[in-house]
């Protein structure tokens, strides 16, 4: 499990890697929030390209970041979702609170 953060022109990209469950979500959350609270990006981009598995803990992770960024009117964008992650995101109705970039190809 790891989070790589990259900040450029108001956009904070968090490249997540590894399986996301209740256990790993905590560390990912702490890593993202630490930086996000300092930088207050107008856009937080969560990149799931390297996430092979996610249960509903990932939904909690996404919704929590939407709430956090809402404090400074930032928005959250999700990208790199595989088919199975997409199914989870759809079930949770996340598209109403975060933009979803479709995987190219």
């Amino acid at each position: 499990m790891s989070v790589q953060l990259n900040y450029k022109e108001g956009v904070l990209t968090a490249k997540l890697s590894g399986e996301i469950d209740h256990h790993s979500a905590r560390e990912m959350r702490e890593a993202i929030d630490d930086t996000a609270q300092k930088l207050k990006p107008y856009c937080l981009r969560l990149d799931f390209t390297e996430v092979p598995f996610m249960d509903s803990s990932g939904v909690g992770l996404i919704l929590g970041r939407v709430r956090l960024c809402g404090f400074w009117r930032g928005r959250v964008v999700l990208c790199g979702l595989s088919q199975s992650l997409g199914k989870m995101v759809e079930l949770a109705g996340i598209s109403s609170v975060a933009a979803i970039e479709r995987r190219a190809g």
């Binding site: 598995f53 249960d55 803990s57 079930l91």
Partner: protein
């Protein structure tokens, strides 16, 4: 009907074991030659059930999570995830989407995910004694 194969897995309720629980079940179910999507669905449902046992069942103390996996001739898999934790006073309420006592960014979607990713979900619970969640999914052989 008698199962054609079965496995028992048990482990301590450390959250780091959530990954072990779902991976062990998925490895055992691989003999059904499941599609990637079906196996991923079951892995997700098991992860939800195991997380519930750890986060809710054993919220006050450590304990053991017990998983039984049974495979039947028609490709049906029955996975039972059991804890001897605090139990659920109102199962019907607990199964409502978005209901959560978890705090800490729990989405309250565990049972909704299990229901949508499996064919059926049964929950029985006795306060003070523990909870048992039975997930049933039929795996169609790969075309």
């Amino acid at each position: 009907m008698k199962p054609v194969n079965q496995a028992q897995i048990s482990f301590s309720s450390h959250s780091v074991n959530e990954g072990f629980g779902r991976a062990a079940v998925a490895a055992f179910l691989a003999q059904l030659d499941p599609t990637v999507a079906d196996l991923s669905d079951m892995r997700t449902a098991v992860s939800e059930a195991v997380t519930n046992a750890i986060v809710h069942g054993y919220r006050e103390q450590m304990g053991t999570v017990y998983i039984t996996v049974k495979i039947f001739e028609d490709g049906k898999a029955v996975v039972r995830v059991r804890d001897k934790g605090c139990g659920i006073p109102d199962v019907k309420q607990a199964m409502e989407p978005l209901f959560t006592t978890g705090g800490e960014e729990r989405a309250g979607l565990g049972f909704a995910v299990m229901q949508s990713f499996c064919d059926s979900v049964r929950v029985s619970s006795t306060p003070g004694r523990g909870t048992s969640v039975t997930l049933v999914k039929r795996f169609e052989p790969k075309a």
